[in-house]
Symmetry: C2
Subunit: 214 residues, 2 copies
């Protein structure tokens, strides 16, 4: 199975939909559902059945025509593809209100993303704790990252826009290979590092489009 995983490269849009399918399937299993049709799952996930079937076809042969998918099997397969069968270590830089909310975000720890380090440059914050995580000075980022066995998997930037690129550079230098940027500015990372930009106002702008059609 491991070999098959490595061979197929999923389309970017499919990768982005897998977590949504996963969330929908976990909801179903919590309700006690064991089998779900592609129409049913697509509807919960907010897509259409053809798209869902195409996405899942990249992962292998699942589901029985006219019956549906086994919920638990699909949860397991998607988790495997997303590399969620192991925990991931996370650091957050910038402990303002958004950073503070992210440190304690329940959805992270539930899904195996462990916030092990938090960093800020504000002397009033350094040395205190946020949700049981000690806040360290940003200058400790590199040493801390190197001190963690296996390194840090993911760095989250929740600083002001003006600091974001500098923090990204430091994360890259510290060996972090995956970065999420919440600061409202576009930053750049070298090849070999994966970057996701999260701009919360994008969602509002998308809604704004639909509002004017109404």
């Amino acid at each position: 199975m491991g070999r098959i995983l490595k061979k197929v490269k999923l389309p970017q849009a499919t990768i982005a939909r897998l977590p949504v399918y996963l969330r929908s399937l976990v909801m179903l299993t919590n309700k006690g559902e064991q089998i779900i049709s592609s129409e049913g799952l697509a509807s919960i996930a907010g897509t259409n059945a053809a798209q869902l079937r195409k996405d899942l076809s990249y992962l292998g042969e699942f589901g029985t025509r006219g019956v549906g998918y086994e919920v638990d099997q699909l949860i397991n397969e998607i988790s495997k593809w997303l590399g969620l069968l192991r925990d991931r270590t996370v650091v957050i830089v910038g402990l303002g209100r958004l950073g503070g909310a992210l440190v304690g975000y329940q959805g992270f720890s539930e899904k195996g993303f462990k916030v092990v380090g938090a960093f800020d440059r504000d002397p009033a914050k350094v040395g205190t704790e946020a949700d049981g995580v000690k806040i360290r000075h940003i200058n400790e980022l590199e040493d801390f990252t190197k001190s963690i066995v296996g390194g840090i998997d993911i760095g989250i930037i929740a600083t002001q826009a003006s600091s974001a690129q500098g923090i990204a550079n430091r994360m890259v230098n510290a060996g972090i290979k995956a970065i999420i940027n919440f600061a409202p500015i576009t930053i750049e990372v070298p090849d070999g590092v994966v970057l996701r930009q999260v701009d919360l106002s994008v969602e509002l702008q998308i809604l704004s489009y639909y509002l004017q059609k109404g």
Copy 2:
């Protein structure tokens, strides 16, 4: 121009990319750039030039072959398409840490999304202020919404998972037509209401996929 806007229906994926193009263009204009090639803009926006040209072709005829797009013209056109030339009123329900961070999120007000109301059920919070916005009891949601001339455009749910569906129902009953749900649970809204689910852990799961390929 208004008539043309109404005639064309954009693909969902294009709509979701327009805010990203807009952010990239604003960054360019802040740097003093007046013209940008499709390759240049695509690269900043994290897509490819063919996709960008296709997306923009839905909006009309822009850009000069071999030269590029006029940055200010494109900002104006995309803003028009997204309905961003007018302000939008927003309410936030759930003033926990995430809700508290959202009330003061600079990116909202900068882009014309005005948080005019904040609601919670915690007596310790009701009556206090968050970033200059008075926190009201959730039972005031309907009356408050009706009291605002033009109504409320967008409702943001930042409650616990268990409260999210109930709050969505109340927003719909109060006449709100666009909802963003940050609670980690899938909710449903009737036809005619637009819903965006935001799950911050989705971004971490996407990164997790790329980490295992490295």
